[in-house]
Structure formats: structure tokens, C-alpha cells
Amino acid sequence: MRIKVALFVVIGLVMVLLSISLGSAHVPLADVFHVIGHAVFGLDLPEHITAATVSIVWSLRLPRVLLAFLAGSALSVSGAVMQSVLQNPLASSYTLGVSSGASLGASLVLFLGVSLPFLAMLTLPILGFVFGLATILLAMAIAKRIDGSMGNQTIILTGIVFSLFVNAITTLLFSLFLNDSNRMIAWQMGSFAMRDWHTVWILAPIAVAGIFFITRFHWELDILSFGEEQAEAIGVNSRHTKTTLLVSSAALTGSTIAFIGVIGFVDLVVPHIVRRLFGPAHRYVIPMSAVIGGALMVLCDLIARTVLAPRELPVGVVTAMIGAPFFAYIYFSKRGVSNGA
């Protein structure tokens, strides 16, 4: 198992380095190391490396690749938690309304020109995050009113109904502000283009802290799979643990899509791949979802910016095009194995 973990960590690293090297302008791997060494440790640059190369590697590609990795990790971990806690292979933050809420927040910013005082630049991500989180909290509050024991089916159904309702409001705004809808459409497709280090510095601590926080609950996630009552009898505070996990993984998704827009399928597919490779124990599922999810997102972004270069595809299109058939393959090829994953 350790060798397998190490192998995939190495694959992830290789993916990151290749992704920095490849693109419309190819930068040899050795030069990538030189630039990073120069920027981080102040090492001398060889003469053949131009200022343009430094700028491509350090200011354009590296933040973009890191951001893709962080986003992939955060979305995948969030998806793994949602699937396990709600015991549903299709559950995700999106099912529960996080993306609908974030879209509504984003459309308020883009259509109505809402702007936060002092934080004008961050209005879009902040409102996206707040609306995303507010939607799931509201959905869960309603689920609790309906069903005091907060059954999984109730939470999922309330989430779906709620997110459809919120989507309708967003569509209403669309129809009212049709002329301004281009930016909104672009946001909804998700992209890592034109992001700089600022975004990395904001998202990195959130994503890393969130993933660590969730990893601490790996054993509770295992125990909860036998049912909430059994978990409770063993001493797990089921309802509290469940709420904590749902909200923290919704926050992970919310903060990610707030910056980069809605990117689907990664959160759905990656946990299934990871369980296939590492089994159902969450001490592997959570961290390895972060590693493999990050690597996969980096790969999807590489494809998005190279396959039709110099044109760039929205990364959400790539993840869905790869993700949908892949999910079908993974999920249906092992039907009959009774672990529901």
C-alpha cells in the first residue's frame, strides 16, 4: 500500500512539472527547475534563460498549475466526503446546491454590479462562497425541520429541490440581463486562465487546512458507513460529525468554485477511482483523493490549453468530456460487487 501511495504522489509531481513545461511555448524541464530555484532560493540563472521564460514559468504557468492542483484536490476531497457521509455514489456539493448558490452570488455581482466596500476585487469570490455555503446551510436547516434525524435521503432531496429553486432565480437574472450574460457563461464554465499568485495565496491555505481538517475525521467516516445508530453506540457523535463534515466539504467546494467557476465531474469521479485503487478506508481515500484529484485537474487544464492552441477550452468542458464516460465505466464495470461505491 505504501508503495502504491508513493507511486501516485510521484505521478502527481511529474504531472505538475510536465504541465509547467508543456504549453504553447515549450520550456525544457531543466529550465523549469532553474527558474524555480532562482525564484525560491535565489540561485543563479543560466545565461540561456530569458526574462520571458522566467515570466512564463514563474508568473503564468506555476500559479496556474498550482491553482489547478489545489482546486482538483479540494473538489475531490469534498466529493469523497459527500459520497461517504450521504452514502450515495452520486452525491456531491453540487447536488446539495453549493454551485447553484455560488452561481446566484456570481450573477448578482456580474449582472447587478454588486460590489463589496474595501474588497471590490474579491467581491465575486466572496459572494460566490457566501451564497454557496448559505444555500447548503439553508437546505440542511430545512431538511432538519422535515426530518429531525436528518436522514440521508431527506438531505439529498432537499438539496436537489433547493438547488433547482436557486437555479431558477439565476436563470431569471439571466433573462433580465441577457446582454451581460457572456461573463456569467464564462464563469459558469470554469477556467484557470489569467489567475496569478494572489489567488493561489488565498486558496492554498483554505484548501490545505480544509483537507487536513477533514482527514482528521477519516475513522468516523469509516465507522459511519455501518449506519448512524451503530456509530452512535460506538461513541461517534453521528449528527454533529455529519453536519461538520458536510459543511466543511461544502466550504471547500464553495471557496474553490468562487475563484475558478463551476467545474464538474472531478468531485464525482476521483473518489470512485481512489476507492478502486486503495479500498474504502478513508485514511487513504481522503488524502489520495487530494493527490489524484489534483493531478487529474492539472492534466485536464493542460489538455484545455493545448489541444486547440492557441485557443483555450474551458476546463469544465474537458473534465466533463473525460469524466462522464470514465464515471460510467468505473461505476458500471463493477456492479455486482456489493460495496456500493
Binding site: Q87, Q230, G235, A281
Partner: protein, 253 residues
């Protein structure tokens, strides 16, 4: 160690059990019998504080409501009939989950050698040492039941609540289980409360019997008193005594 006074409990506001009072001392087990749907499982859930209750339940003189989940589960273990199985873990991993409260702390959650030893003892008790690496989804009903019992034992509680623990077990396993639990209670000054459909097994487990019907307590007391009263005949609306005796006659002939 456990006292219930006028306890009512149920689901969604409706009471399934009403006005139950009972007492269980250390070294003394209790069997609960009664027809299907009379509220036996609900009573166990109330005692484990898995559902809210009215009245008072005290464990070693402390009201259950004032105890945290952790405090309750360190003392009370429950083997229930209801479980889900969304993922599949090995027998060993599943039994180790019983160590949750003993291992889990703020900084680490790695089982120690002592935890492994507790798990191995629990597996020995239920004769599943050879199956420890098997996946739980590949087990038979009886094996699975024993895995969950081992998990409850690994929890090292002082009071074990059993909901139909012998459902899928053959007669030898049933007897071994009851004998083991009696020893377990005796050696550690602990107690077992068992919901058992098989009245003969109930008699084997404990000297005390609680008879329930329609969510209420019909009788409680020593086994011989209750059997002599013919109270079970009335509770089950059939001649239990004659049924048992006629079966016995076929054995002795």
C-alpha cells in the same frame, strides 16, 4: 448500576414504550421478553440514549441526559439488529472500530499493541480469529452477528445491551454466546441486558425477567416466579407452558 424510573420513549414525539421502571445491579443480568412490536428494542435504545426519553435513567447514579455521548458509550455497549453496510472493511478493522473511544484523541488515532490485544481477545471470544482478514460483506449472517458482538466487546463497556443477539446462530453458538456473556458479566462485575425471543435462552442468561406487552411493563422479577405465575401465557395469548412441556416430553421419551 442502572435504574430506570417511569421511562417513556418513542420516535417523532409518539411514545412506543410507556412508564417503564427497572433496576439492574452489577453481576446481575436481565432478559427482556415479549411479543413482536412490544417496544423491547425501543427500550434498549432509550437505555443507550440513542433516542430521547422522558423520565429518569441513571447509570451509576448519574442521569444519562447529563452525560456526553463519549461518557455513555464508554460504559454502555449495544449490539443492535439494524446496520448498514455501505463500504466493506475487514473483520479485524470492523472490530477495531469498537476501540474508537479508547484510541481517538486530539493528536493521534493509531491503535496500540494493547488495542490490538483487546481486539484479538474479542475475536477469540466469538471464534473468528481465522476470519480476521475476511471482508465483512463476505460473511454469513451468523458470522456477521459475531463480528458486531466482538466489536461491542472490544468497546470494553460495563453494561452490554443485546438486541436479539442469537438470531442467526445455531444452537451450539447460542449456548456458547450466553455462557460467554454470563462469564463476562461475572468476572468484571458487569451486566448484560438481553432482548431474546427464545424464552429458554432468556432463562439461561439471567435470573431476572422483564415481560413487556404493548409498550408497557407486564411484570418483572425472578424467572421462577414469573414462570410459575403463568404470566407468559397471558402475555403471548397462548399456552406457552404447555407448548414448552410438550416439546420437552418428546425429548425425554
Amino acid at each position: 448500576m442502572l435504574t430506570l424510573e417511569h421511562v417513556s420513549a418513542g420516535y417523532g414525539g409518539a411514545d412506543v414504550i410507556r412508564n417503564i421502571s427497572l433496576q439492574v445491579k452489577r453481576n446481575e443480568n436481565l432478559s427482556i421478553v415479549g411479543p413482536n412490536g412490544c417496544g423491547k428494542t425501543t427500550l434498549l435504545k432509550a437505555i443507550a440514549h440513542l433516542i430521547p426519553y422522558k423520565g429518569t435513567v441513571t447509570l451509576d447514579e448519574v442521569e444519562l441526559r447529563h452525560m456526553s455521548r463519549r461518557e455513555v458509550s464508554l460504559k454502555i455497549g449495544m449490539l443492535s439488529q439494524q446496520f448498514g453496510m455501505y463500504f466493506t472493511y475487514s473483520v479485524f478493522e470492523t472490530v477495531m472500530m469498537g476501540r474508537y473511544l479508547h484510541i481517538k484523541n486530539r493528536f493521534s488515532n493509531r491503535p496500540t499493541d494493547a488495542d490490538r490485544a483487546v481486539v484479538m481477545r474479542a475475536l477469540e471470544a466469538v471464534h473468528l480469529v481465522a476470519e480476521q482478514d475476511k471482508e465483512v460483506t463476505k460473511l454469513s449472517g451468523g458470522q456477521l452477528q459475531r463480528v458486531f458482538l466482538a466489536r461491542t466487546l472490544a468497546q470494553e463497556p460495563e453494561l452490554i445491551l443485546l438486541d436479539e443477539p442469537t438470531n442467526h446462530l445455531d444452537i451450539k453458538c447460542q449456548m456458547e454466546l450466553i455462557a460467554y456473556l454470563k462469564d463476562w458479566a461475572k468476572e468484571g462485575s458487569r451486566a448484560v441486558i438481553g432482548v431474546l425471543h427464545d424464552i429458554n435462552l432468556a432463562i439461561q442468561l439471567s435470573e431476572n425477567l422483564l415481560v413487556m406487552k404493548d409498550g408497557e411493563m407486564r411484570a418483572s422479577g425472578r424467572v421462577d416466579e414469573i414462570l410459575a405465575d403463568g404470566l407468559l401465557n397471558e402475555t403471548y395469548e397462548m399456552d406457552v407452558t404447555r407448548y414448552m412441556q410438550s416439546a420437552l416430553q418428546r425429548w425425554v421419551r
